[in-house]
Amino acid sequence: MDNFPVFSVAILTPLLAACLLYLPQFQRKIRAVSLLASGISFLLCLDISRRVMGSGPIAESWTSLIAGANHTLFSADALTAIPMALFAALTIVIISAAPQRDMNPKMAAAMLIILSSTLTAYAAENLIILLVGWTVNGIAFLAVGNRKTALPKVLLFLGFLCLAIGIGFMGRDGIKAGLAAPWSIADLRTLDAPGGGIAFFFLILAVLLHKGIIPAHTWVIASFDRGPLLHAGLLMNAHLGLFLMLRVIIPLLPQYSFDHAAFTSNIALITAAYTALIAISERQPRRLLALITLSQASSILASVKSMNVEGTTGALLQWMVVATATTGLISIYRAIEARIGEDISISKFMGLASSMPRLAVFFAICGLALVGIPGTLGFIAEDLLLQGTLKSNPTIGILLPVATALNAIHIFRLFSRLFLGSKGPQVSIPDALPRERVVLAACVLFLILGGLVPQWFVNLRISASDATSAIESSVGVDVD
């Protein structure tokens, strides 16, 4: 069983399923095939997580294919294993909750390719594979995106270009140093700052572009507003920019990383506050969801760069919270669009709670968890984020609680405008369907369990934050 190519199967199964969806015999079973493929991926990722948590990092090599040499292509450690399982689970949520109109072969295939490419990027032990995963991820989204919007294309392409240049400079140093595998992350760690300042500059630029940090936030807004919402949510919740920071930039370029930590942290905090500020005057729910997601996601990056254990663990927990809660919110909002049409404005009260009480409750819990209400994992994550960020950055750090408070107001405003304030539509509108109910209940259960037994969730992420802290200690940063 140890020789079973678990990574490859987890990555290739959704890819294969995406191809199968175009065959005529599977056209009427799109959701079933998609769920089966993502379910297999999820179970395999869960197994990877179990093995990593039990006995440390695991890897997969493709010896026979590449000239007999033993090349490690995929690996998982405490940092990557949990996000892999989480992302596969969130894809299942999205596929289950997606309305029928989003379940055509093209849209479903795009979801599966996003899953496959994200897992590829997460598990990549080799920078070229990471680049491939990152690129395919963006292409899959753009393939189903609104063709009239150039902004996401331009900014995602710029992000890819920056990543390619940064990786190129790192690989060049690997080749110069005579490494057997010049693109291997493990091998590059033996060098002192591979790629140097130029690689760092381009990689940071790739992170900022992909995470939608000011001024690149516009692609996220455009994607949520004009693109396919569920795919935009998946793309955003992959948090590949954050992952690049934790997997490549901090371990390979620790000194550069910490020399410029204040810049990254400050610009992320400013993004969190700015997006929360402009959301005050936003009346379009899709754009409002984009701004809230951006604001909360930016706080993760700010906290990763706080250079202390509380901040890093808080960021890793917040990653789980933002991904789960926003997936729930986006799925619910898309379900509403499927029922009452896409031209929704929150200028007026819609009173949907009378027709959709269960969706209203799911929306409220996901929203409140996102902004850190007690009894949910969000409360723990916010507590650690605040401690970490204010400790390292007490002046600009104050923007974090301000942004969170504003986001809570936005969530309540969106909830009240969608679900409260009037008697609602006079026609019968279905509440949560069984398939929606099951996956949304799972999201809510995850968020609440995290709030009731947080130690288990903290333990899941503590090894990853310890690893980051060890790197910080090695360059003389006081992690306490």
Binding site: I280, S281, T313, S347
Partner: protein, 460 residues
């Protein structure tokens, strides 16, 4: 005694979880079992709390601190689960149990056949759990947990009649105020944690309440005191955050009684009373607490005189008394403040619960005395010149100009800045819905101004 404390704290929480589970499973429980369960649970909890008080008194125990380890640990950073019951918290816990029980019994008739009957009781139990958590918390982190639960239940109950827009708008206003002021509490946790190393009360103060001393420096006392004052002012509707309280009267009368007459509105005063040793360690913080209380008491009593409906009048009367309690805390009169909180909460609960029957009560009294009722109150404002009286009347009618000032100097500029920035965002990324532009009058302001502009009464 430890078990008794746990029974008191957990009973409402367990009932909430049980009822929620049944509701989520689609089982609607009939009114009578819900009412009986509520009455029985709070009668039982009351007996347990009295037993606890008697046993503490007989064994001369000043305080009980229960530690359940850490909720979570992250190397040196811990989130301690500490429950503390002392001479400050126990009376307020008993008060909460008694008043929630009374309101529960009252509501079972008042909300009879109301569509949201079960929802009201769910939120009432969650509120009771949150309040007991605030009063029994042994650390500021746990207090924050209860504080947030009370805040969210408060907002959800204001929007109880959710099919009308006004209650939802008012709930929004209250939520904005709560979340804004809660920043003070969250930052205070950080300040105490990183300056003293803990936010557990036994680590912050030496001795037993009311003879405690703060163990930190004057600088921490000043910063922490001002942050806590901001949080307490928001929760207790003190200047400059008092304008939400009349709006909160949109909720059903029983919730107004328990939240804004009794427990929730005094949570801020309790916070300051709990941290009084910290406030006393800084003269500036003490003066700030007194000043806020004084301004609120004076303005609220003037405004209350011009109110024409009972619930609004009561809300300003509440503000006045809570303002006086703030003054007492700032001056260091701790025991007086505690007695004031308990007596005030009890009286206001009665007044709020009788508010829907005020006309009936008035005519009963009027008939009983044969129509010869003496005028009530003394109009001290008559000692002022007529121009000052006119100014005061205008001041009262405009509710102390607080909304106008907040709109003018805070909400207005922020909303306009937001709309201006968002218009540029729309230029960069036009909406797929061509008719969409960012709000010209930003939504938060619209929500607040619409009722006033239409001349409608928004407060009860």
């Amino acid at each position: 005694m430890e078990n008794l404390v746990l029974i008191i704290l957990l009973t409402p929480g367990v009932i909430f979880l049980g009822l929620s589970f049944l509701w989520l499973c689609g089982w609607t429980i009939r009114e009578r079992p819900v009412a009986s369960l509520t009455a029985g649970a709070y009668a039982f909890t009351f007996m347990v709390s009295v037993t606890l008080a008697v046993r503490m008194f007989l064994s001369d125990v000043k305080s009980i601190e229960l530690s359940f380890g850490n909720w979570f640990t992250l190397h040196e950073y811990t989130f301690p689960l500490v429950i503390a019951v002392d001479e400050l918290s126990l009376p307020l816990m008993i008060l909460t149990i008694v008043l929630v029980g009374i309101v529960g019994v009252f509501s079972s008739r008042y909300l009879h056949r109301e569509k949201g009957f079960q929802r009201f009781f769910l939120l009432l139990h969650l509120f009771a759990f949150g309040s007991l958590l605030i009063f029994s918390a042994g650390s500021l982190e746990m207090l924050v947990g209860g504080w947030e639960l009370v805040g969210i239940t408060s907002v959800l109950l204001i929007a109880f009649f959710h099919q009308r827009p006004d209650p939802v708008r008012c709930a929004m206003r209250v939520f904005v105020t709560y979340r804004g002021c809660d920043i003070g509490l969250l930052v205070a946790v950080f300040v105490l944690h990183h300056s003293i190393g803990t936010a557990v009360f036994s680590g912050l103060f030496s001795g037993n309440w009311p003879d405690q001393t703060f163990m930190g420096s004057g600088g921490v006392a000043l910063t922490g005191g001002l942050l806590l004052l901001a949080a307490a002012s928001g929760k207790s509707a003190q200047f400059p955050f008092s304008s939400w309280l009349p709006r909160a009267m949109e909720g059903p009368t029983p919730s107004s009684a328990i939240f804004y007459g009794a427990i929730s509105v005094h949570a801020g005063a309790y916070l300051l009373l709990r941290f009084q040793p910290l406030i006393a360690a800084s003269d500036i913080a003490s003066i700030a607490v007194i000043t806020v209380g004084l301004i609120t008491a004076l303005s609220a009593t003037v405004i209350g005189r011009a109110c024409t409906d009972i619930k609004t009048s009561l809300s300003y009367a509440v503000m006045t008394q809570v303002g006086l309690i703030f003054i007492e805390i700032g001056a260091g009169w701790k025991m007086l403040a505690l007695i004031h909180i308990i007596s005030h909460a009890t009286l206001r609960t009665l007044q709020f619960l009788r508010a829907p029957s005020i006309l009936r009560d008035f005519y009963e009294t009027w008939n009983a005395v044969g129509g010869e009722m003496a005028p009530t109150g003394v109009h001290y404002e008559k000692i002022f010149p007529i121009s000052v009286q006119n100014w005061l009347y205008r001041f009262a009618l405009e509710r102390g100009h607080q909304d106008a000032l907040l709109d003018l100097y805070l909400i207005g500029p922020v909303s306009r800045l937001s709309a201006w920035l968002n218009r540029h965002e729309y230029h960069l990324t036009p909406s797929r819905m061509q008719s969409f532009t960012p709000a010209q009058v930003p939504p938060i302001m619209m929500e607040e101004r619409t009722p006033d502009a239409a001349g409608r009464r928004i407060d009860g």
